[in-house]
């Protein structure tokens, strides 16, 4: 099965309220349920992405290759039969797809 790179993109929400401990526990529970459901698809849980630079023949530049307001929050790699299945896995990840945020699912071709 091919692998897919899932990149989380989000728009920072102004004054977003921090989740309460109760909500965090719910988030953790939902996330664990998702992991259990798709354990065969998860290749690499990836991680959060920080600041970056674009390296070109001219110089290293801070952009504007990514719109400033749009953040790539994190990435992970899933395996799936096809793009549709990979999309389903990503869509069901709690908290990933919501107002102001989404996930980009890109197939990784391996020779």
């Amino acid at each position: 099965m091919p692998n897919y790179l899932c990149m989380q993109r989000s728009l920072p929400i102004e004054d977003a309220e921090k989740p309460s401990p109760t909500q965090m526990q719910e988030m953790y529970a939902k996330f664990s349920a998702w992991q259990e459901k798709f354990k065969d698809n998860i290749v690499d849980m990836g991680g959060k992405l920080g600041a970056g630079k674009l390296v070109t023949p001219e110089s290293a530049s801070d952009g504007p290759f990514v719109e400033v307001k749009e953040l790539v929050g994190g990435y992970m790699i899933v395996s799936a039969k096809n793009l549709d299945e990979a999309t389903t896995v990503a869509r069901e990840l709690p908290g990933l797809v919501g107002p102001g945020s989404g996930v980009e699912v890109i197939e990784i071709y391996t020779p």
Partner: protein, 415 residues
């Protein structure tokens, strides 16, 4: 939904433990910085544990991160050296190596200490309650507002008053003296009692939410009863009444969330394990010669729990306990309850006689309780017209649909 590997309310209770432990270490006047550090540590845990799974010792993991966050923040805010100088006696070495000791003894003492910090006389009672819910129970402002039926702005206001007081505490006052533990004990009892009644008497439609506040009060009460500072008959009586009440919590509602009268409740649904624990605490509360309002209330609850049927309730004991309750804690509400019990023991006329000539205070006169009891007693005495008047008032002032339905059923005309 349960999270694998984590006990129920893990995040919320860890929040309380961490705030309590760090407050002792760096001084409760840094409460804001402490709460921020703990919140960030929980967020970091959520992000990290998603990827790596749970660490072997999750509480120690959280402590380490929260402690580091806090040290970094305090260093930035006011210079770490000054804090260290003011807390020379404070052990800044986190007990990573001995998590067992760290969890069992130290944290329980810290939680207890924080409970007594909340019982500071300079903090108004309603702020004490909110402070305990926020710092010890780990509820957010929104969650507290939802549970106490008030606005978030109001919760913020109450919290700000409490925090303002803590911020002004001098570093020297960080440690509570034995005398302070003793003098604050009644305030601590009151916080627990309020926390419990906010859950038990709440007209909240979700049983789970009401039950949650009751359980928090029992949790903190148990910690209090295990500590020398709290081992007094009043604490045991308070725990007895809490267990004896929650034993009947589930049976108070029918399948669709409607409220049930005591005589309608299915006694098989009562939680006999809770009743057993409640009676054990009641037995312990009998030591010494103190008779508090908690003793009276636990005594009443015990009579109800021990009665095999409504008709077999020992109403004489109930009446007696209400009379004692009125003596130790005079309240028109207790008198009203005694009237109901007297009506069961003797006759409805006798119940009305208890209230004869009594002018209820405004808060009671305008509540549905007063009107509902009078409607019921007058109806049973055959004073149909008077009963009708009170009945309308009672139904009109019912706070929730569930209460309204209960009143309509109970007070419907006999014809």
């Amino acid at each position: 939904m349960t999270a694998p590997g984590l006990v129920e309310h893990f995040f919320r209770h860890e929040y309380g433990k961490l705030v309590a432990t760090l407050s002792r270490r760096v001084g409760v006047r840094n409460i804001e910085a402490i709460e921020d550090a703990v919140q960030s540590a929980l967020m970091a845990a959520l992000e990290s544990w998603k990827v790596t799974g749970l660490p072997d010792n999750a509480p120690a993991w959280l402590f380490r991160v929260a402690h580091n966050n806090l040290m970094g923040d305090l260093r930035k805010r006011s210079g770490r050296r000054r804090i260290l100088e003011q807390n020379e006696e404070a052990d800044m070495e986190p007990p990573y190596n001995d998590p067992e000791v760290f969890l069992a003894g130290e944290v329980r003492d810290d939680l207890l200490r924080m409970l007594f910090v909340c019982g500071d006389k300079a903090i108004p009672v309603e702020s004490q309650l909110v402070l305990a819910l926020k710092t010890l129970c780990g509820f957010s402002v929104r969650e507290i507002a939802h549970r106490l039926f008030t606005s978030e702005a109001n919760v913020y206001k109450r919290l700000a008053r409490a925090r303002g007081r803590l911020r002004r505490l001098s570093p020297r006052l960080g440690e509570l003296s034995g005398e302070q533990y003793a003098s604050r004990l009644p305030a601590v009892h009151k916080i627990l009692y309020l926390l419990f009644t906010e859950g038990y008497l709440s007209s909240h439609e979700e049983t789970a939410i009401r039950r949650e506040l009751c359980n928090e009060a029992i949790w903190l009460g148990t910690i209090l009863a295990e500590h020398p500072a709290g081992q007094v008959p009043e604490t045991f009586a308070l725990l007895a009444l809490m267990h004896l009440h929650v034993a009947r919590l589930t049976a108070r509602q029918d399948g669709s969330g409607g409220l049930l009268l005591l005589e309608e409740q299915n006694r098989d649904l009562w939680d006999y394990q809770e009743i057993r624990v409640g009676l054990e605490w009641l037995a312990r509360s009998a030591e010494g010669d103190v008779f508090s309002r908690f003793h009276a209330e636990a005594g009443i609850a015990a009579e109800h729990c021990l009665a095999p049927t409504f008709a077999e309730t020992r109403w004489d004991k109930v009446v007696e306990n209400y009379a004692l309750l009125e003596q130790v804690a005079p309240s028109a509400l207790h008198m009203l309850n005694r009237a109901v019990a007297v009506a069961e023991l003797q006759c409805p006329d006798a119940g009305l006689a208890v209230l004869e000539g009594f002018e209820p205070p405004t808060w009671l006169a305008s509540s549905y309780l007063w009107a509902a009891v009078l409607a019921d007693l007058h109806q049973r005495c055959g004073n149909t017209e008077t009963a009708e008047g009170y009945r309308d008032v009672a139904i009109k002032s019912a706070p929730t649909t569930a209460v309204k339905e209960l009143l309509q059923r109970r007070l419907r005309s006999t014809d």
